[in-house]
């Protein structure tokens, strides 16, 4: 069944996907810059990085992202979910501008406009590709319908 229009709950799930991923990445970045250099000769250092506070918070946010992402993928196409959730980049940039009072260059404003237009573009289309049922599946569905009558 194609969902041309999403419910408010489904928009909320897409919002969670948008927010949790960039916030999680930011926490990971903060945690990894505090770590000593990691080389391929000592890959186990990557495992110990997981228990540091910033990395742990980043992982918690990314788990929230993953649960929302899986839910979104169960009712929408991958090629719909990915552009539709790109607004997270815009949210982080606006957060940096209005709460952290960082300067946003003209290029960044152009990037924000392009992402917003791209998200608006894809969000107006259908969220799921309608698949034609194969004859075998159609027969099975008919049998089930007859049995439930």
């Amino acid at each position: 069944m194609a969902h041309a229009r999403l419910s408010p709950r489904q928009y909320l799930i897409l919002g969670l996907v948008s927010l949790c991923a960039p916030l999680g990445d930011t926490c990971l970045s903060r945690g990894m810059t505090n770590m000593p250099d990691i080389t391929l000769a000592h890959p186990t250092t990557l495992i110990t990085a997981v228990i540091t506070p910033w990395i742990a918070l980043g992982i918690a946010l990314l788990i929230g992202f993953f649960a929302s992402y899986l839910t979104a993928l169960s009712w929408a196409d991958l090629t719909f979910v990915l552009p539709a959730t790109a607004s997270g980049n815009v949210i982080v940039a606006l957060f940096a501008r209005f709460f952290l009072h960082e300067t946003i260059s003209l290029e960044r404003w152009a990037g924000i406009v392009l992402i917003t237009v791209g998200v608006g573009f894809v969000a107006q289309g259908p969220s799921l590709t309608e698949k034609q049922a194969t004859p075998a599946l159609a027969d099975a569905a008919d049998t089930v319908k007859e049995q439930t009558r």
């Binding site: 709950r9 489904q10 960039p22 990445d25 930011t26 990971l28 970045s29 990894m32 810059t33 505090n34 770590m35 250099d37 990691i38 990557l46 990085a49 990314l62 899986l70 839910t71 993928l73 169960s74 009712w75 196409d77 991958l78 090629t79 719909f80 990915l82 552009p83 790109a86 980049n89 940039a93 260059s105 290029e107 960044r108 152009a110 990037g111 924000i112 406009v113 392009l114 992402i115 917003t116 237009v117 791209g118 998200v119 573009f121 894809v122 107006q124 289309g125 259908p126 590709t129 698949k131």
Partner: protein
Amino acid sequence: MTIPSPAPQPGFWAATTMIAAIVLASTAGEVLTAAAMKSIGNLDEIRARCGLKGAIRAVLSCPLFFAGVSFLTLAFFALLFALNHMNLSLVAPASASLTLVTNAIAGKIFLKENVDRRRWAAAVLVCIGVYLLAH
């Protein structure tokens, strides 16, 4: 707390290899995960019918899901490795924007999704937008 001085940035080919590893692993992971979720069905409906445990059981009993998670784990450690050598302002936008394009191609080829002109345009606009945000 003292913030360590920034390490020297890697060369072009080392940076390209690190970003390519993230992009390839996350594309494989996302396509496999999307295929798994499509085969399972609408999680909201499963949760309404069988509860949260039923939904979790449905996800955990799908082998494709674990294949996807394996590649996503690989992408995660590739990201951690890259973040240790490069700035987030380069790694995150570069890998995110390239992954959008590779996923659109992989979605069309492997998932048979209807990637119409609207979706291609959105992928390209978001890709350029993410690139501009990083500068």
